[in-house]
Amino acid sequence: MERIVHAWLGLAVSEQTSFLIKSAIFLFFTGATLFFALGASYPAVHDTLHNVRHALAIVPCH
C-alpha cells in the first residue's frame, strides 16, 4: 500500500494511515460482499442463500 501511494502520489504514508486505508478498502469490499450475498435480490444469489438469510434471524428476506 505504501509503495502504491508512493508511486502514484509521491507521498510517504505512515503505518497508521496505511492501516486506515487498507481497513477502509477491506470494510468496503466485505460490506459489498455481504450485501450481495445476503441482501441482493438477484435470483441466483437469493435462491442459493435464501435459507442462510432466514437462519440468521435478523437478515430480512421477502
Binding site: 481497513s23 477491506f26 466485505t30 441466483a44 435462491d47 437462519a55 434471524a57 435478523i58 437478515v59 421477502h62
Partner: protein, 325 residues
C-alpha cells in the same frame, strides 16, 4: 330539574353496574398446543383453541367467534426475517363454536408478541370481546447461527487487522473472499393453477406478502347448506408445513376468511366439504404468493451490525499485533 339530573345519574350508575355483568356472562379462554413458551416461528404448526363458557362454566352450545390475529410489531432495532409481515393483519376468520370450542392450526411466521382479538356472538344475541396477547420466541438455532456468523466476521476482521498492521514489516497477501455463486434459479411453477371439482369452488385472490388475501370456499348444490362440514388446509409447499388448518367445522355452505400468506412462495390449499349421505368433495388449488423486496430500513441495522463487527475485529487485530513486542 333536580329530579331529571338525579334520574340521569341513576341511569349512568345502573349502566356501569349492568355492563360488566353482561360481559361477564361469557368467559373466553385461549390456549395453544404446544404451550406459548414452546412456540417457535416456522417450526411446527400450533393448534390454537378457544373455549367459551357461560357464567357457570358450561361450554356454550351455539355461537360463533370472529377472530382477528395481528402480527408482532417491528422491533426497536433489528428486523425479523419477514419485515413485511411485522405489524400486519395475519388472519380474519369467523368460526362456529362446537361445544363452546373452536380449534384451528396455524404456523407462526415471526418472533414477537401476537395479538388475537376474539369477538363472541351467541345464538341468543349475547356478545363478548376479548383480546389475548402472547409471545412467540425466536428459534434458538437461529440465535446460535447468528452468534457463529458474528464470531466468524469478528475473526475475519481480527486476522485482517493483524495482517494490515504487520504489513509495514513485510508485504503480506490479503485473503480475497470469493463467493461461489451457484445458479440455482429455477422457473416458478405456473401461478394460480387450479383444479376445481364441479360441486365445490375454492377461490383465492392474488396473494402478496404483507397483506391479507381473501380465501373463499363454497359448496354448489348443497342439499342442506347448514349441515356442511369443511376441512381446509393451507400447505407451504417449499417447507412442507401446514400454515393454517381447520378440521370439520360446520359452515353454512360457504366459508370465507382473510388470510395473509407470509412468505413469497407456493402454497397448496386443500378443502374437503362433507355432507351427510354423500361423498366428501375435495378441492385443491395451488397459488404463488408474490414476494416483496425487504425495505431498506429493515436491512440497514443488520448490515451495519455485521460491518461494525468486522471493524471491531480490525481494531482488536491491530491492538493484539502491536501489543506483542
Amino acid at each position: 330539574m333536580i329530579r331529571l339530573s338525579a334520574l340521569a345519574y341513576l341511569g349512568f350508575a345502573l349502566s356501569l353496574l349492568v355492563s360488566p355483568v353482561w360481559a361477564d356472562e361469557l368467559n373466553v379462554y385461549f390456549k395453544t398446543t404446544p404451550g406459548f413458551e414452546h412456540l417457535r416461528p416456522y417450526a411446527d404448526p400450533a393448534i390454537l383453541s378457544l373455549l367459551v363458557t357461560d357464567a357457570n362454566g358450561r361450554p356454550l352450545k351455539d355461537g360463533s367467534v370472529a377472530l382477528r390475529l395481528d402480527a408482532p410489531r417491528s422491533g426497536v432495532f433489528f428486523s425479523t426475517d419477514f419485515p413485511w409481515v411485522e405489524g400486519t393483519r395475519l388472519q380474519e376468520v369467523q368460526l362456529n363454536l362446537r361445544q363452546g370450542r373452536a380449534n384451528w392450526k396455524y404456523l407462526f411466521p415471526i418472533r414477537g408478541e401476537y395479538r388475537l382479538a376474539v369477538s363472541v356472538s351467541t345464538a341468543d344475541g349475547r356478545k363478548a370481546n376479548k383480546e389475548f396477547t402472547f409471545n412467540v420466541r425466536e428459534n434458538e438455532k437461529k440465535w446460535g447461527a447468528l452468534a457463529a456468523f458474528s464470531a466468524g466476521l469478528f475473526c475475519l476482521g481480527l486476522i485482517a487487522g493483524r495482517v494490515f498492521t504487520a504489513a509495514a514489516a513485510a508485504p503480506k497477501q490479503t485473503a480475497i473472499i470469493i463467493l461461489a455463486l451457484l445458479s440455482a434459479s429455477t422457473g416458478r411453477a405456473e401461478t394460480n393453477s387450479a383444479s376445481q371439482d364441479p360441486s365445490a369452488v375454492l377461490e383465492v385472490a392474488p396473494a402478496t406478502v404483507g397483506r391479507p388475501t381473501v380465501v373463499r370456499w363454497r359448496f354448489i348444490n348443497a342439499v342442506d347448506p347448514s349441515r356442511v362440514l369443511l376441512s381446509l388446509a393451507i400447505v407451504h409447499l417449499e417447507k412442507g408445513k401446514t400454515v393454517f388448518g381447520v378440521e370439520r367445522i360446520s359452515v353454512p355452505g360457504e366459508f370465507a376468511m382473510n388470510f395473509q400468506f407470509t412468505d413469497g412462495a407456493e402454497y397448496r390449499l386443500i378443502a374437503v366439504g362433507e355432507q351427510p349421505g354423500s361423498m366428501p368433495i375435495r378441492t385443491e388449488k395451488t397459488i404463488s404468493a408474490t414476494a416483496l423486496e425487504p425495505p431498506t430500513k429493515a436491512m440497514l441495522p443488520a448490515f451495519g451490525y455485521f460491518i461494525a463487527l468486522i471493524g471491531a475485529g480490525l481494531i482488536a487485530g491491530r491492538w493484539s499485533k502491536r501489543r506483542v513486542p
